[in-house]
Every structure is written in structure tokens, then in C-alpha cells.
Symmetry: D2
Subunit: 117 residues, 4 copies
Amino acid sequence: MPDSIDALRARVNQFVEERDWAQFHSPKNLAMAMIVEAAEVVEHFQWMTEADSRQLAADTREQVGQELADTFVYLMRIAEVCGIDLIAATNAKIALNAQKYPVEKCKGSNDKYTKYQ
Amino acid sequence: MPDSIDALRARVNQFVEERDWAQFHSPKNLAMAMIVEAAEVVEHFQWMTEADSRQLAADTREQVGQELADTFVYLMRIAEVCGIDLIAATNAKIALNAQKYPVEKCKGSNDKYTKYQ
Amino acid sequence: MPDSIDALRARVNQFVEERDWAQFHSPKNLAMAMIVEAAEVVEHFQWMTEADSRQLAADTREQVGQELADTFVYLMRIAEVCGIDLIAATNAKIALNAQKYPVEKCKGSNDKYTKYQ
Amino acid sequence: MPDSIDALRARVNQFVEERDWAQFHSPKNLAMAMIVEAAEVVEHFQWMTEADSRQLAADTREQVGQELADTFVYLMRIAEVCGIDLIAATNAKIALNAQKYPVEKCKGSNDKYTKYQ
């Protein structure tokens, strides 16, 4: 089974081609599909305390994993269809976030970065 | 720069540790953060036609890439904190989706799978 | 100022007409706009404890009110454009929810209704 | 049946009290529940063209109405629990939006308001 994003992306693309679904996969539609799946992740946690969300039962973890996977599939599809290199974009954004949130200013704080500027 | 999910995940984890943010990263909070970022992806497309969403200007593509990256970072964090192997979960879910959406029944159709059962 | 949903809806419709925005207000686009605003509500609470979310500072309450208002405006617009009577639909759904969640079975419990069936 | 927001809000509050659910209704949890319902509205439209979303079949309109109602119920609950007057907040926000989007500058345009400033 694929063990890298590139291999996963290729598998997803093949899945879509076999079903002739690229016609429905505009970035607009895929963004809607992605947030619908993200909401299914949220649904698992909506009435749970934070503490309980840190110690999931095995069947809940399994279900959360399935919803995360669906979210990830659409996320990869958006990157694919928009011509975005997801790995490069993520590395670049982490570097940007490191500038927005310098360790010495925000250690242990959950303030939004606008408070540091 | 990291070129695999494992390397990215390690980089994200280090980012969180340096800032002592793990205390805020309950799955409940992370699911909220992920859907907020997913909505920032949606925001780019909300008034765009599907056709326009397929041919983004360079600066919009750059911004969409940044929002996708933020969504992906929280997605990886949820997997990390819940003890979910994201690659394995995604491979398993694609296999499940292939059963739910058999090629011969759903080729070229955007019906929901419940119509095939 | 309007003090009923009907008066508010009329005010919102006039706002849209004056700007000739009905052309952009397909239910598909409005659903995207509504969830983007709902996410701005979520953003206020993502790193807050439940306890802190119950005692908001005045400025945060003001901001949450603004995001709720934007969400509500798009919600009313979707009802308007789809020809849905929001008040009637909400009364009908509350009656349905009362059947799904009978008091004697779910008092004090946050289980999903599927557990009662 | 209630025909105003006040009457609806009272009905929803009674529903919650009868089930002793106020303990779960922190603004944080309610914001999660609201966005989950908003996503169920989005789900109806994700693979639909804009044109098709403007002419819903009767059963789809019925279902969209149910999801809108659930979204609205949680929206009213957030306002209730946070001590926000939803009608007043919405009137105030519409007035603010009228300043952000002056008719003479944005008529017929879907540009974001930041373009006018």
C-alpha cells in the first residue's frame, strides 16, 4: 500500500478517473466536500469534554480515522486540481507560521498572533 | 525540506513542542481549528463560478495553498494526538470507498452511494 | 428597527436588491457563505475551555454577536431563495426532534438519538 | 405555533430544559453543533450546479429546510447562552455591512469589501 503522499495522490487520482468523476471535481465543489467531511470529524467531538476527546474508545478512534481520511482525500484532490504542491506548500506555511508565532513570545500561550504585532 | 508525511508530521510536532502548545491540542480543539481553516479554503470559492475555480490566478492559488496547508497541519495533529496512522487510515478508507462506489454502477454519476444499495 | 424574522428578511432582501447581488445568491453559494460565517463563530471558541466560553468578555460577546448575525443573514437568504418558510420549518423540526429524543429516555444524556432506536 | 423569534426561542429553551441538556450547551459545544448542521446544508449542494441549486425538487427542499432549522436552533441557543439579542445584533450588523458595501461602489460586483478600502 502507498506509504507516501505521492503514492496516495496517485491512488486517489486513479479512483477518480475510473469513475469519470473529474467532471464534478471543480475546486469549488471539492472545497464543499472537504468541509462536509471535516464537519463529520467535528461531530464526533461536539458533546465530548476535552479530556474525553483525549482518550477515545477504539471504535470511536476508528470512525474518526475514517472521517480524517475522507477529509484528507478531498484535501489532496483540491491540491491536485489547483496545481498546488501540498508538501511544498505545507513546508512553506510552517516556516511562515514560525515567523508569526516566535517561540520567545508565544510559548505556553494560546493568544492569536495579532496580539504579538 | 521534508518530503514525506512522516517528516512533515515530525516538523509539526517539533513546532508544537517548542511553543508548549500540546496542552491546547485536545482532539476537540484541533477539530475546531481544522474546520476553521477548511472554511478559509471555502471562502476563496464562495462567489466564484465552478469554471472560474478551475483556473485560478497565481495569487489566489498561492493563498489557497496556504489555507490547504493550515488545514493539513491540523489534520496531521488530530491523527497524531488520537494515535491514528493517517496513511494506513486513508488507504483503508479508499478501499472501503471502492466497495461503496463500484465502477460499473457509478461511472459518470454523482449520485450518493445510498442510491446503489 | 425590525423586530420579527419577517421584517429582518425584508430588510436583508432590500439590501441584496439595492446591490444587485441576487445573481450571486444561488443556494449553493449561500450555503458556502453561511458555513464560512459559522466558522468565524467557531474560531472564537477553538482554544477556549468550555467554562471560559460560558463567561465571555464584553468585546468577545460583541464579536460573536456579529458573526452570529452574518450566519443568520445567510441562513435567512437560503430560506428565501429556496422558498422555505423558516419559522414553519423550525417548528416542524422541533416537533420531529421531540419524537427522536423523548424526555423519558434522554434526560441528562448526550447520547445520539440512534442509541434509542 | 410560534411565529416570532422570541416564541421560537422560548420553545427551544423549554425543549432543552425538559431534557436537562443545558449542562452540555456551552457556547463552545453549541458552535460545534451549529457548524455540523450548517455542513449538512452544504452537503445537499456540493455536487449540484448553481443552476440546479436554484430549482430544488420538493423532497430536497424539505430536507434542506430541516437542516436549516437545526442550524437555526443552535444559532438561537448560542445567542441565548451568550446573552446576545439576536434581532438587535442582526440589525446592527446589517447597518455595518451597508457601510462596508456602499451601493454606489459594489452594485453588481462580488468583490470582497477590502477592495473598496
